[in-house]
């Protein structure tokens, strides 16, 4: 009895002393959460989880490599406890979901006859799989086999479908997939994903500046899943209603169907599902990641600022928008006329974004009412500068300041703000872009008798959207091509009466590929107009740089076009905590460009806030094309006519600012969606070959 007692006493004391001393002597700092998590794992160190013991597993959980449910013997309470500990850091606590990029569409042909074992991994080893399409899903269901939670099925078309309720985000499927078709990402990661050279991307999705997964939402529309389609769009674009109306849809230029037939009318389909949501009377809930506790200021409530704020909010940051105008929207509120984008629609859309918990402060001008100093003092850790390009270029000709002369954006904005403008009976709008068209079409609706467009090149070179040009032609605008204004002539009261211009002829093509107009000597011509509006482009108004007394402001660099200088891949300005995008960084561009750059800036800001190096997306496409995905011919297409956009007849639309373009009816939208070839989405034949494809 005594020796046993003494022996155990001794050995216990020795072990206790050694352990407690060495825990002090060999103390190494590690994330305190690792110990907390480890305390809630089973501590059997059994290795059943595949990690080297409980502390490695705990470390993996804390580093976000393993889910809280990593432990195979832990109780449910243990898992919840771990999840709670990890909940302190929202970034890591965000639940992961599998997400498959490739889902349904047409099949790719076989390159060879495969007779090996039924495993994607095995087939991928042989020339990257038997399908002609090198990027797509192989479809033998390695991911399904890998899933322990029954959350994956091979769907009716043979591609994997994820059941979000069952998926725990363990990542087994992602590891099993040899093609990166199925990826496990948090919502934030999905939102911050940018097109990369190795992705399975249809040409349209490569082209879209906002990088919307176009084939996915068209497919969802086709299946009647309108809500899901809207959600797909909102992963990349917070303004589907606005874009569905005003986007010049560069995506359609690359549509494979357009090679043999007319391109799919992608934008009308977007408008169809977006309008469906608005008219359904209820908003589709938008998921956001848990709060991170970081604050970001977005200056400028235009498309770029709204997009940046929307995505920052969705990945968990607190965002406040500062806007100089009385209402949010920027150029799409004040630059785009009511008949193209009704204010009611825009209000509805912006409210949806604000409902995520974004605060807006309107009627405050950066540099005047607040500055960098006050933002920093209020605890904002980063700033997105999206002030747009509102400064019209002037023609630089004599008589430009006469009564009756206006500048394009200024005119549109003043009109939209409800200002009463003294109008004449005839007007000439100088310029060939969308702003010029917006001006002439607005003027027509204001009751002018004769409206001219004066443009120094020909119709072919007009940068405005084709549909806009056609609409203005229909509405009776008169085009004066190859004309360079030289003088505005006024009467004795200083009122404009005539516009003098020189006739031009086309010479050699210039850097932009357009043929340079050359003036014809002595060809001065007079046009009788009471109003002259110059809409020849804008540049950002960077007056805030001088107005803001904060010293740091002098470090902000501008380009010679007055745009804010930034690194185009990460959109960081010369002051590290300032990011910029949209027109204020690029000069006037498309709404959808601004939306894309807003999201890209959100990604950079997120990295910046997390203290990680702000690096460009690897192999980022940024609207470059993947060469192998751009075809010159497409076989087997039966020509079917593209859906025609319904619109209000010309005789009914000129009396008011009523919206001209209408949404496609449901059956037409479905018919149009059927025309989509579902490029880069499914690359195998699901009917044959393997039992796993048949069984599921």
């Amino acid at each position: 009895m005594i020796p046993a007692l003494l022996f155990m006493l001794g050995i216990g004391a020795v072990c206790g002393i050694v352990l407690s001393l060495s825990s002090k002597v060999f103390y190494v700092y590690e994330d305190p959460r690792i110990a907390q998590v480890e305390n809630n794992l089973a501590a059997a160190n059994c290795g059943g989880c595949g990690y080297a013991g409980c502390s490695s597993a705990a470390e993996a959980v804390v580093n976000g490599l393993a889910p809280p449910s990593v432990c195979v013997i832990s109780s449910k309470e243990g898992v919840e406890e771990v999840a709670k500990i990890m909940g302190v850091d929202a970034g890591a606590a965000e639940s992961l979901f599998s997400y498959n990029m490739c889902e349904g569409g047409n099949r790719a042909d076989n390159k060879y006859h495969y007779m090996g074992i039924s495993s994607c991994k095995a087939m991928a080893l042989v020339f990257g799989g038997k399908r002609v399409c090198g990027v797509g899903c192989i479809g033998l269901g390695d991911c399904v086999k890998a899933c322990q939670f029954d959350a994956l099925k091979l769907g009716a078309n043979g591609y994997p479908v994820v059941d979000d309720d069952k998926c725990v985000g363990c990542g087994a499927c992602q590891q099993a997939c040899p093609k990166d078709i199925i990826v496990v990402k948090t919502l934030s990661e999905q939102l911050m994903k940018f097109n990369q050279a190795q992705d399975a991307l249809a040409p349209c999705a490569q082209t879209c500046p906002a990088e919307i997964n176009i084939p996915r939402y068209i497919n969802q529309l086709r299946e009647g899943k309108y809500k899901e389609a809207v959600q797909t769009i909102r992963m990349r674009n917070p303004l589907p209603l606005a874009c569905g109306r005003v986007c010049p849809h560069p995506c359609e230029d690359e549509c494979r169907r357009g090679i043999e037939d007319e391109a799919v009318s992608i934008n009308q389909l977007k408008r169809f599902v977006a309008d469906y949501e608005m008219n359904s009377g209820s908003r589709i809930p938008i998921k956001c990641a848990p709060d991170t506790g970081k604050k970001v200021a977005v200056i400028g409530g235009g498309p770029a600022g709204l997009s940046c704020a929307f995505f920052l909010r969705r990945i968990g940051h607190q965002v406040d928008i500062f806007e100089a105008m009385p209402k949010l929207g920027g150029i799409i509120r004040y630059g785009i006329p009511e008949y193209r984008l009704p204010k009611k629609v825009l209000d509805w859309e912006i409210q949806g974004i604000l409902d995520l918990g974004i605060k807006d402060f309107c009627n405050v001008r950066f540099g005047v009412d607040f500055g960098l100093g006050s933002l920093m003092a209020s605890g904002y850790e980063a700033v997105f500068l999206g002030v747009g390009a509102w400064e019209d270029y002037s023609l630089g000709i004599e008589g430009e300041d006469l009564d009756g002369c206006f500048k394009g954006i200024d005119f549109l904005q003043r009109f939209s703000s409800g200002e009463k403008i003294k109008l004449g009976k005839t007007a000439a709008v100088v310029g060939g872009g969308n702003s010029a068209i917006d001006c002439v079409r607005t003027l027509l609706r204001l009751g002018l008798e004769k409206v001219y467009i004066v443009y120094r090149r020909t119709r072919n070179e007009m940068p405005a959207n084709e549909v806009e040009i056609v609409a203005s032609e229909e509405e009776g605008v008169e085009f004066v091509f190859l004309a360079a204004p030289t003088k505005v002539i006024g009467d004795e009261n200083g009122k404009a009466t005539q516009l003098e211009y020189l006739k031009m002829e086309l010479g050699e093509p210039d850097a932009s590929g357009r043929r340079r107009p050359v003036p014809i000597e002595g060809s001065e011509t007079l046009l009788d107009v009471e109003m002259v509006i110059s809409a020849i482009g804008q540049s950002p108004d960077a007056s805030f740089k001088e107005q803001d007394p904060h010293k740091r402001m002098t470090e902000l660099e501008l380009t010679r076009w007055n745009t804010i200088d930034n690194d185009p891949a990460i959109l960081q300005a010369s002051i590290p905590y300032i990011f910029t995008g949209g027109d204020s960084a690029t000069g006037p561009a498309l709404v959808v460009d601004a939306i894309g750059s807003g999201r890209r800036a959100a990604r950079s800001i997120d990295l910046f806030l997390k203290g990680e190096p702000v690096e460009p997306v690897k192999d980022s496409l940024q609207q470059k094309r993947i060469p192998e995905s751009i075809f010159t011919k497409v076989d087997g297409i039966k020509k079917t006519a593209r859906a025609k956009m319904p619109e209000i007849p010309v005789d009914q639309r000129l009396d008011s600012m009523i919206e001209v373009d209408l949404v496609l009816p449901e059956d037409a939208a479905h018919k149009e969606a059927e025309r989509c070839l579902n490029c880069c989405r499914i690359c195998y034949n699901p009917d044959i070959d393997f039992p796993i494809a048949k069984a599921n």
Partner: protein, 190 residues
């Protein structure tokens, strides 16, 4: 020569995993990837040799001397657990490079019956100190050998189409059975 026999017997004939059935949990757990298997094998060699020595000393100079051999189980496991925890803390602080490669496997070994089992076998075989050292080492090498072989096979099996009910652990066990069968042929070698 005697030590050579102990070594061969420990590695092949009485292979701790496949013939003695000790240490099977990490055998299945850490054999999914070759990388983990190698790390685990090294860590086991490291710990088992140390544990073999220290438990032999505890047994000979304390348990037998005090005539309290029935406390062997308690004292061995306590000593092994403390030793592993100590080594882990030591490596983490002093040799972080080694810790990253090998140390992270240490906690997995605390409750590894291969370590405890080998120490108990050393005692029941009445080895001398050197004999215990050699046999601990050989058991550990045997463990590593089986683990690495098994990991290699398992990586291949991942490519094969296995009927659903047999997937994962199930097929792994059957495979382990086949490997154990090959090890049976070493019987009678010494």
């Amino acid at each position: 020569m005697e030590y050579f026999e102990i070594f061969i017997a420990g590695v092949f004939i009485n292979n701790i995993l496949l013939a003695q059935f000790l240490g099977n949990c990490p055998f299945l757990g850490t054999s999914k990837k070759m990388e983990t298997a190698v790390g685990m094998a090294m860590a086991v060699i490291f710990v088992l040799v140390m544990a073999g020595m220290i438990t032999w000393i505890v047994d000979t100079y304390l348990l037998k001397a005090l005539d309290v051999e029935y406390l062997r189980t308690v004292s061995f496991i306590l000593v092994i657990a403390s030793l592993v925890q100590f080594v882990e803390m030591f490596l983490k602080k002093s040799i972080p490079g080694l810790y990253a490669g090998l140390g992270i496997f240490l906690p997995l070994i605390t409750t590894n019956c291969a370590v405890m089992g080998a120490c108990l076998l050393n005692i029941s075989n009445e080895y001398s100190f050197l004999g215990a050292l050699v046999s601990s080492f050989s058991y550990a090498v045997g463990f590593g050998l089986a683990l690495i072989l098994f990991a290699g096979v398992r990586e291949r099996i991942n490519l094969a189409r296995v009927p659903k009910p047999l997937q994962d652990t199930s097929i792994a066990l059957v495979t382990a059975g086949v490997i154990a069968l090959t090890f049976m042929s070493f019987k009678g070698m010494v």
